[in-house]
């Protein structure tokens, strides 16, 4: 019995540790202590923009193409090809763009943070920071969180645009299912600014969790190069599960009770 319970107990323990860690980092951001290192936060923001935007937009672009062709073929099957825009609008904005954003954030930014902080921990650089009298958690983790909050809403909007463009390409240019005007009419009729806001909230929740999890695993890495590798792999597991759960909860909260579609009364 004890052996059976060991694994869940370990999970709960890790979860508690992560929650405590997240609380500390959030406290430092909201308490304003992070603004002592605002320059570092700006530098991290610059790194995010330069290294991640293109990859995220690229993945969302492919997903947008995917939504476009599925939508085009599905609506052709039901005999309503003019409504390919409905499928593309819902698939893009409400579901798959946030998911694709979360996946790529986890893969590029999350594991990147673990690798970076982990190797700092292994080579005792974090201890060196402490010795110099700098609060390492503020300097390393809180600045990264602040940077991601500053930059990622805009990255997200850019990636939504690239997804929309890709769906348009797939439906109108590639498959020639509907005319450009007909597609745009239906596509824009079935979404409105609150939808964009909800979808952005979902994506930002995912991004926050991913950055915090990445910081936790990197900051607490141990055991040489092998340890850094294992920590990176572990953070990815947690991130993927978190992305899916946040996606589901977000959909349930924002669209579960109200379809927000211009059909019927």
């Amino acid at each position: 019995m004890n052996g059976l319970l060991a694994a869940p107990r370990a999970w709960i323990e890790t979860f508690g540790e992560i929650a405590g860690f997240c609380g500390q980092v959030l406290g430092q951001v909201f308490g304003g202590r992070v603004f002592r290192f605002f320059g570092e936060a700006l530098r991290q923001a610059g790194i995010l923009i330069l290294s991640s935007t293109l990859v995220i937009c690229g993945l969302v672009f492919i997903i947008g193409l995917q939504c476009g062709i599925e939508g085009a073929y599905f609506t052709r099957g039901t005999g309503t090809p003019t409504y390919a825009g409905v499928f593309a609008a819902w698939c893009d904005l409400r579901e798959l763009v946030p998911y694709a954003f979360g996946y790529m954030m986890a893969a590029k930014v999350g594991t990147g943070i673990v690798a970076e902080l982990g190797s700092m921990r292994i080579s005792d650089e974090i201890d060196a920071l402490e010795v110099m009298g700098i609060n390492s958690m503020t300097f390393l983790c809180a600045t990264r969180l602040l940077a991601s909050w500053m930059v990622l809403p805009f990255v997200y909007i850019a990636s939504v645009r690239s997804g929309f463009f890709a769906s348009y390409l797939a439906v109108v240019v590639q498959i020639h299912e509907v005319s450009a005007g007909g597609y745009s009419l239906i596509f824009w009729m079935f979404q409105n600014p609150p939808d964009l806001l909800f979808s952005a909230i979902k994506a930002m929740a995912m991004a926050t969790v991913i950055v915090l999890v990445g910081c936790y695993y990197g900051y607490n890495a141990r055991g040489g190069p092998v340890g850094v590798g294992t920590a990176t792999a572990k953070s990815m597991v947690l991130n993927i599960v978190a992305v899916h759960l946040i996606g589901m909860l977000g959909t349930q909260i924002f669209w579960g009770a109200n379809p927000r579609a211009p059909i019927g009364g």
Binding site: G77, T111, A115, I122, G229, M236, N239, V241, M248
Partner: protein
């Protein structure tokens, strides 16, 4: 990477076959790591993305029984394969890169070569085969739990399950199923090659291993999605019978 793919396939086919034990242990390793994240992910995706949104749309027309038919389109053809690939790449792929990267850094791979053991044959081939098989099989698992998400969505809307199953089974076709499984098997191959390549070419100490894992995941995701687009496009265009609603 292409060279590694060629080498892997050639040395998988050509005798001798010393990789049996390693194959089994890698298979079990991937199975043990992935089953739980995959379970949560597919139920969440099946209930949230597909279930709630499609049910929203269908409820407006009073046609919630068509949800079953929609799950054939969405679950079998699209999201079960790609959630499967995401979880396998994120969980098993990163573990493989971390493992091989650490061995490379500690010069164990060079030591193997000095001993006359071919690292491609003894390390890459079993991982390649195991990941292909495990991804293909996990696709069925992802399907089952994705449809379980659909069942939850139907029940939440207060509808009976009979019509769900009826439209599901009239719309399901074997072409969809084999398309899905072939697709995921090839995803597994892409993930294994990318992750093994990045692990075996890691350099530069602890930071190097972390960076290798990072790059491996990014490249694997991009590769899988790009391949998915091409495959779905080809399948749908060459099998028009798949698009007729029944």
């Amino acid at each position: 990477m292409m060279i590694l793919t060629g080498k892997t396939i050639v040395s998988a086919i050509r005798p001798p076959y010393p990789y049996g034990g390693e194959f089994v242990s890698q298979f079990l390793f991937a199975l043990k790591l992935c089953w739980f994240p995959l379970l949560i992910s597919t139920i969440a995706f099946g209930y949230g993305a597909v279930g709630i949104q499609a049910a929203n749309f269908l409820v407006l027309f009073g046609a919630l029984d068509r949800l079953g038919g929609f799950y054939v389109l969405s679950s079998i053809r699209e999201f079960a394969p790609f959630v499967d690939a995401i979880v396998l790449a994120g969980v098993a792929g990163t573990a493989i890169t971390a493992d091989l990267g650490a061995r490379k850094i500690r010069e164990e791979l060079d030591a193997l070569q000095v001993l006359g053991v071919d690292p491609v044959k003894n390390l890459v081939v079993p991982r390649f085969l195991a990941l292909m098989l495990v991804t293909g099989l996990f696709d069925v698992y992802a399907l089952i739990f994705g449809i379980f998400g659909g069942i939850i969505a139907t029940l939440v809307n207060g509808e009976p399950l009979g019509p769900f199953w009826a439209t599901f089974f009239t719309n399901a076709s074997t072409t969809d199923l084999w398309g899905s499984i072939v697709k995921t098997t090839l995803f597994g191959a892409i993930i294994a090659i990318v992750c093994c390549y990045k692990g075996m070419t890691a350099s530069g100490g602890a930071a190097g291993v972390g960076r290798a894992v990072n790059q491996a995941v990014v490249i694997a995701f991009m590769g899988v999605f790009a391949f998915n687009y091409v495959f779905t496009q080809t399948l749908l265009a060459t099998h028009p019978a798949l698009n007729i609603p029944r």
